[in-house]
Assembly symmetry: C3
Homo-oligomer: 270 residues x 3
């Protein structure tokens, strides 16, 4: 299953419209190119919807949002819905400010998302309305552990049922779930949290993978998570220093093959 999803991305080279933060936007564009997709960034109200029509999927990332780009996200997401294209939400920092929490909720109310990809604190903020987020990293108390894994999966399946979206949570242990079926993924390396953008890049890969694998969206999202995790592992094996990790992750995203993915995946169905 993993092999096919990767091959479909490389064969179809989906064009992904990204409205995303300016902190990690370059890494997002390069991550999409590395995995075989193609990025286009366009956040002005006057072109957001039109650019969406050219693309196979839309990625909305609320980091460094502002009044202008919030409107563009809404327009792009609604146009993608209209066309039946997948839309991914990355609620960066939801819970860290009212603006981010309210924007994420507003987007959830007005756009049907295919996938919501965040850390566990961001996802809990959206599901509960509680603010457990500290900055843009997950709160330690929220983290998914072996001990709380099963109830967390139940919780995320429930949120998937409410939203109709695949819920995709990254951390030391990743959970990718729809309302019925869940994957737990244990790829990745702790040094990935020592560079900015690993979450943002993962959301972009997620958009590329569901765009190229419309028959198997859940498997596609899981494959994107395995790919990102393995890229982190491969990079960390060379150097865990910040500059080299960043370069190494992009290198690995372009080097990992379908066979590598199959061989290295640490994925289980729950």
């Amino acid at each position: 299953m993993l092999q096919l999803t990767l091959k479909n991305v490389r064969a179809n080279a989906p064009l992904i419209h990204c409205i995303t933060n300016y902190v990690t936007v370059n890494d997002c564009a390069n991550a999409l190119l590395a995995c075989g997709a193609s990025p286009i960034m366009a956040d002005d109200i006057a072109e957001a919807a039109e650019i969406t029509t050219l693309c196979q999927a839309t990625l909305l990332n609320i980091g460094t949002l502002n009044e202008r780009t919030i409107k563009s996200m809404l327009l792009a997401g609604q146009k993608a819905n209209e066309m039946g294209h997948p839309v991914v939400l990355d609620p960066v920092g939801a819970g860290a400010s009212q603006l981010r929490t309210e924007t994420a909720k507003m987007l959830l109310e007005n756009i049907k998302f295919s996938v919501i990809r965040g850390n566990i604190s961001e996802i809990k903020t959206l599901a509960l309305g509680s603010n457990t987020t500290q900055g843009v990293d997950a709160n330690l108390d929220d983290r998914i552990t072996e001990q709380n894994l099963l109830p967390t999966i139940q919780y995320l399946q429930n949120f998937s049922r409410q939203t109709g979206a695949i819920i995709a949570v990254s951390g030391a242990i990743d959970v990718v779930t729809n309302a019925e079926r869940s994957y737990v993924i244990r790829n990745g390396h702790h040094s990935m949290s020592k560079i900015t953008g690993s979450g943002c890049m993962l959301s972009c890969l997620t958009a590329a993978y569901i765009a190229a694998n419309p028959q198997n969206p859940l498997d596609a999202v899981a494959a994107a998570f395995v790919l990102m995790g393995m890229a982190g592992e491969q990079a960390a094996a060379k150097s865990q220093s910040t500059g080299s990790m960043r370069t190494g992750i992009l290198d690995a995203l372009s080097e990992l093959t379908a066979a590598d993915l199959e061989a290295g995946a640490k994925i289980e169905v729950y």
Copy 2:
């Protein structure tokens, strides 16, 4: 000719005012520094014209444009015209949205450009009014090949005649032309299309090269194209993976000497 143009950039260290997209802006700044020039990015209406007066050339790149920055581009370009400084247009994604097509046309009507640097689809959009652009990459049907090279050169010379600008088209085969004289450049490596920003960086180099070589603008633009192509070749010889290609191109831009350029150039007059 190539040697002198490179030496002039390193000797004069021209300051380049860039109003450019936020996706590749860091690479643009580093590319300018690597080649011996100096960047200043300033896109607010309240300072765009004033910053232009400090600089030796102005670069207008319409990727991630918005209402605010479009106004700043106009002001900066007109001020540069007033001062007799060269202005380079990079019409990123012209044809991909009405906003981009219309903005590029508006800028062409109101600013006298020294160089228009784009991929063939973007240039055709401006020349024809047709939209052959798919995303920010050139459409396959448009690509310059050995078969269509001569008519394409004629076509681009004609567009140069209309605009008064040097037309500089990058791709597997590059064409740099004014109304009478054309260079065809075959440097570069296909892996350059697997990182974001190689076109944007090339436009910045172009601005630096014409700023430092006012006597020979056509040669200067051709030299910038040879430099970028050779930087891609040198990077690809070490690694074609996305992260390393990016680092390698910036390294090569700072390492390539005048003698290297002369020795490695694959350039012909047509």
Copy 3:
């Protein structure tokens, strides 16, 4: 003293709110992560003050400023003052345009800064009201040399007395001073000026170091300068080419230990 300041940053992992330019923002985020701190970038008026309340320090960098972000800087800085959190000003390009000079002055009038970190031309612009800045680099005539070192220190101490801020000037010779006590630091490498962002990253490190060392702000700022200088030295020892320097500096920031800092510091009290 240096060892303790570094250990405090790594132990406390301060969260730093950055309102900064889009040219080097990714490097700023990675530099903060590399040194053991955590970044959050948020520049919208609707969340700037709220994000500040989550953080331990605030960094205001006026590169690529605009009307919207100027307002956010004011709100964030004032909120940080209200909470007693340190605020760092990086007056990028003050003197290069009226907008930047006026904005820096307006911020100085309305916010109490803990540190002002710039190149000597930017600092002189603020202290004198004169415009000696050329672009975003220091004017050659302004540079701190062995010959003008003592009067320059007097001058900067005086500016510290006026503003109540630590004045921290980077260049071939760095000076970090409050009204009474000055450090002169001779770490660093000339190739650091051949990448964009070394000043911006240093300002971010400065914010992290004072946040984690509230008892010794002057020592903390000096330590941040030694760290950045040594990171440049370590990177340059491997490669002075632009792409590799950038990666190497981020690597060194994550690798340098407290003991390294103590051993490699070229710091004197004046």
